[in-house]
């Protein structure tokens, strides 16, 4: 009971915070199901559901009734705290301090029913949703999984409507699906219901038969398995090659941004994920790559006017050189000191570039403009759909290199250094060269990304290279799973791709990143798609039978 009250209060505070920072209001622009539920209300609902779920789960004893009562109480309290906000907001003008406590917010929180009716709605709705959360928590595991997957995919389809709608529209026959599924804002009611039913059926089927199919594939002769793998790989490459034509201009632009972050993430993954050197000034190498390209190619400064391909080797070389130069001083530092020193380096580079002192060479605050696009023969990489191929080639190359490096002698040396420097040194690993190679490789990848970035934008400004970029990249490799190459992809799509698609999200991007970092470290330090080894390490203490099978 006490536990339930505590959970309810926490949930209520979270909801009030979400309302006051303006997230609910911003998210209410978009409907998940047209005219029925908006994204803002979904967010509120999710919190209550989760709190009800937790309350029921934390209830001692085995009687489900007590669990349900607890979840009901916690839901009621969550609703009550929100109602308190509405009540207080009605009495005094909170807007003087909290700029987001606008009349619209209260209208949203009371479901446009006026204060009194709204408050009772909040209480009743909170209690009901808490109860629902309790039901989900107490339901048999198969039902719970199926329910979560299908509810999740309906919400996902609603959230990602901007991605799905134009994609379907490009395909003649699928346009019908589009009509049926989506209205002008959000899913239609019958669409949402149909989708829910379809996904429920599919996931129930997979839950029953999935293991059989998987073991069926495993029992195939090895030649057949290999053929299956190669076919799926070829299929994947085919899709990657035609993707921009399928997705249209806007989504290709999003893809190119994600691609640039994948490049950066793969580089930082070597430094942080493989070698365990926490580098917070990683953006410096991105800046060095971009600025080298800018200085060498732009006619604006007039020193050189190489083509993109002429400047690229220099950009990468400068990246490697600066990686080594910045690496030497920090060779002896560990952990936190290294993080702060590299953060300092990143800021030094940015301040120098921004200063008037280097203005004649680097353009100061105005940056460098008129950077030419890349060419191959007569083919120009100018539009997002064309640049996509440039970035794809870069990602494939860098991904291949990281993949091969990971299992090489050097890769194993990096991981040994990550685990324990002293032991690694005792095993005969040359710490200096190993660490410098990590810095240099990471910097090279980052400089490559910077060069492409410069040619994509056509100009470089010092403000594009602030410490937030370093934090973004760090976030995406941590969320994906440190040291895991597919993890970088997952992280980049989740943390860079999603916010690009959700315009409302842009304002709260760093807030969510911060929360994601903390939550990740507290709950799942190995990341979403962890490397097998690291996962085992971080869960060493837990019992062996609980360990789920290692993912590919």
């Amino acid at each position: 009971m006490k536990q339930a009250i505590k959970i309810g209060l926490i949930g209520g505070v979270v909801e009030v915070l979400l309302s006051l920072i303006g997230m609910i209001e911003a998210f209410s622009q978009r409907d998940i199901i047209s005219h029925i539920i908006s994204m803002g209300h979904t967010l509120l609902l999710l919190v209550v559901l989760f709190m009800g779920y937790l309350a029921a789960k934390r209830t001692p004893g085995t009687k489900p009734l007590w669990g349900l009562i607890d979840s009901l109480i916690s839901g009621l309290i969550v609703g009550g705290v929100l109602a308190l906000l509405v009540f207080v907001g009605g009495m005094i003008n909170l807007r003087k301090v909290f700029i987001n406590a606008s009349p619209l917010l209260y209208k949203l929180l009371t479901f446009d029913q006026g204060t009194t009716a709204g408050i009772s709605l909040l209480l009743g709705g909170g209690a009901l949703s808490g109860l629902l959360g309790g039901f989900i928590s107490l339901a048999p595991s198969l039902l719970r999984r199926v329910l979560m997957v299908s509810l999740g995919s309906v919400a996902g389809a609603g959230v990602l409507q901007d991605l799905l709608r134009p994609t379907f529209a490009l395909w003649g026959p699928l346009a019908v699906v589009n009509e049926w599924l989506f209205s002008s804002n959000g899913l239609t009611f019958h669409g949402a219901f149909g989708l829910f039913a379809l996904i429920t059926a599919l996931s129930a089927f997979w839950a029953k038969k999935g293991d059989a199919i998987r073991s069926g594939v495993k029992r195939l002769p090895s030649a057949r398995q290999r053929a299956l793998k190669i076919t799926s790989l070829l299929f994947l490459i085919m899709i990657l090659l035609v993707l921009p034509q399928l997705l249209g201009l806007f989504l290709s632009e999003v893809l190119t941004i994600v691609g640039l972050y994948v490049l950066l993430g793969l580089g930082l993954n070597i430094v942080v994920g493989f070698a365990g050197l926490l580098d917070l000034g990683y953006v410096a190498f991105f800046a060095i790559g971009a600025y080298t390209t800018g200085v060498l190619t732009s006619p604006e400064l007039g020193f050189f006017s190489l083509s993109f391909w002429g400047a690229l080797p220099f950009a990468i070389f400068m990246g490697v050189l600066s990686g080594v130069l910045l690496g030497i001083p920090v060779l002896k530092m560990r952990g936190d000191y290294l993080a702060i020193a590299t953060l300092g380096f990143g800021e030094i580079i940015r301040i120098l570039v921004l200063s008037d002192f280097l203005r004649p060479w680097l353009g100061g605050a105005q940056g460098i403009g008129k950077i030419p696009k890349a060419h191959i023969g007569s083919m120009e990489f100018a539009t997002p759909q064309q640049i996509y191929y440039l970035i794809l080639a870069g990602c494939l190359l860098v991904g291949f290199i990281s993949w091969r490096l990971r299992d090489s002698r050097l890769g194993r040396a990096w991981m040994a250094v990550r685990e324990d420097e002293d032991v690694a040194q005792a095993m005969g690993i040359n710490l200096s060269s190993t660490k410098l190679l990590a810095f240099a490789t990471g910097a090279a990848f980052s400089a490559l990304s910077g060069a492409i970035f410069a040619s994509k934008l056509g100009s470089v400004y010092p403000h594009s290279f602030n410490v937030m970029i370093s934090i973004n990249i760090l976030c995406l490799i941590i969320v994906g799973g440190m040291g895991s190459i597919p993890g970088v992809l997952v992280g980049a799509f989740a943390l860079v791709g999603l916010p690009e698609l959700l315009r409302e999200f842009a304002e709260y991007r760093l807030l969510v990143y911060g929360a994601a970092l903390v939550a990740m470290m507290l709950l799942r330090p190995e990341g979403l798609w962890p490397e097998a080894l690291r996962r085992r390490e971080l869960h060493e203490g837990e019992s062996a039978e609980k360990e789920s099978p290692v993912r590919p």
Binding site: M23, D336, F345, E507, L522
Partner: protein, 353 residues
């Protein structure tokens, strides 16, 4: 002797010493050139020094939080800069209310004290919350994990406050009794700078004697020496760790109001740069060492305010003041390389790597 030295030097050491020597030569050359030019009178230098002292004592107060947390938990509380920001940003609304009701002009001392208390209370609250939610569950985790958590918490707090209070700069109301200047012979001091220096010195004296003289202070020091032994001696380690966060939060909240008095504006991003600078100060003085943090803060403030003009102006660099942050960061990197134990941090060096 020389032979032994040669055997111990690796190529990277040679490179490092070369870089160090080059920077030293540049600094000396620049200072000589600036001083011989005589572009700046002694009044200018005096102003620089007073400004540096004021700024430095703010750094010193923030640095205390970093250094105490590092002492007990061996982690950089990256989110301490947000603890610093949250106080004055919240207290701004109190100050604005006082200003518009005229209370600030009628009772300036009382209202300043209330503003201080609100700011310190908010910062302390945020610091306790941080410890409870983000750091306590991770006490035994690998070292990188709490650091990453701290970075995440820092951004979360920054953007939460941005969401709550808005993204613009808020101009702190001017306190009339702090305007104007005092004359000492032919030198003049801006009143608010003098007040900042005196208030910070007082606070540091109080906090320092609290840690040196009281039982709780003794317990905190013993926890930072050795957690297990202290808990065997009957000290509640968890409570002492919370106490360090409380003291750090109070110091940061007070520093925040002084910062607002000095620069007259608050902003959700205002903690970032002073936070890194204060960390630099803590490292300068020897992290984990409380008098070291104070000394380091004041030293850093002075270098930052005098340095750009003294070192760079003589070298003919345009607008040297833009490079003051770069000077602070270069100083940080140099200290980390050549004397990672800091000026006073000798006895902790043996235990940690």
């Amino acid at each position: 002797m020389l032979k032994r030295l040669r055997a111990r030097m690796t190529p990277t050491d040679v490179v490092m010493w070369f870089i160090g020597a080059a920077i030293l030569v540049l600094v000396i050359w620049g200072s000589m050139a600036t001083l011989s030019e005589g572009k700046f009178s002694s009044h200018h230098w005096f102003d620089f020094i007073v400004f540096g002292l004021a700024q430095g004592s703010i750094y010193a107060l923030i640095a205390m939080g970093y250094t105490m947390v590092y002492g007990t938990l061996r982690m950089i509380n990256f989110a301490h800069s947000e603890v610093f920001m949250s106080g004055p940003y919240t207290a701004y609304y109190v100050a604005a209310a006082f200003y518009s009701s005229g209370f600030l002009d009628r009772q300036p001392i009382v209202s300043l004290i209330i503003i201080f208390l609100v700011s310190m209370a908010t910062s302390t609250f945020i610091a306790i919350l941080l410890e409870r939610i983000a750091y306590r569950p991770l006490r035994t985790a690998p070292r990188l994990v709490p650091l990453i958590t701290a970075i995440g918490a820092s951004f979360f707090l920054q953007y939460t406050f941005r969401g709550l209070y808005g993204s613009g700069f808020q101009a702190y109301p001017v306190v009339k009794i702090l305007e104007g200047e005092w004359l000492f012979g032919e030198f003049r001091i801006l009143k608010f700078q003098a007040v900042v220096i005196i208030a910070a010195a007082l606070l540091m004296a109080v906090l320092y004697s609290f840690i040196q003289r009281t039982r709780v202070g003794k317990a905190i020091r013993s926890v930072s020496e050795d957690k297990e032994t202290s808990s065997l001696m009957g000290i509640n380690v968890d409570r002492m760790i919370v106490t360090t966060f409380v003291i750090g939060g109070m110091a940061a909240g007070a520093a925040g109001v002084l910062y607002a008095v000095m620069f007259k504006q608050v902003h959700f991003f205002m903690g970032f740069i002073p936070g890194i600078k204060a960390f630099t100060a803590a490292v300068l003085g020897g992290i984990g060492n409380i008098p070291g943090a104070m000394l380091g803060g004041i030293f850093l403030g002075l270098i930052e305010s005098v340095g750009p003009t003294l070192f760079l102006d003589g070298l003919g660099i345009a607008a040297p003041y833009q490079l003051k942050d770069a000077i602070a960061f270069i100083l940080l990197v140099l200290v980390l390389i050549f004397r990672p134990t800091g000026i006073l941090g000798e006895h902790l060096a043996a235990k940690k790597a």
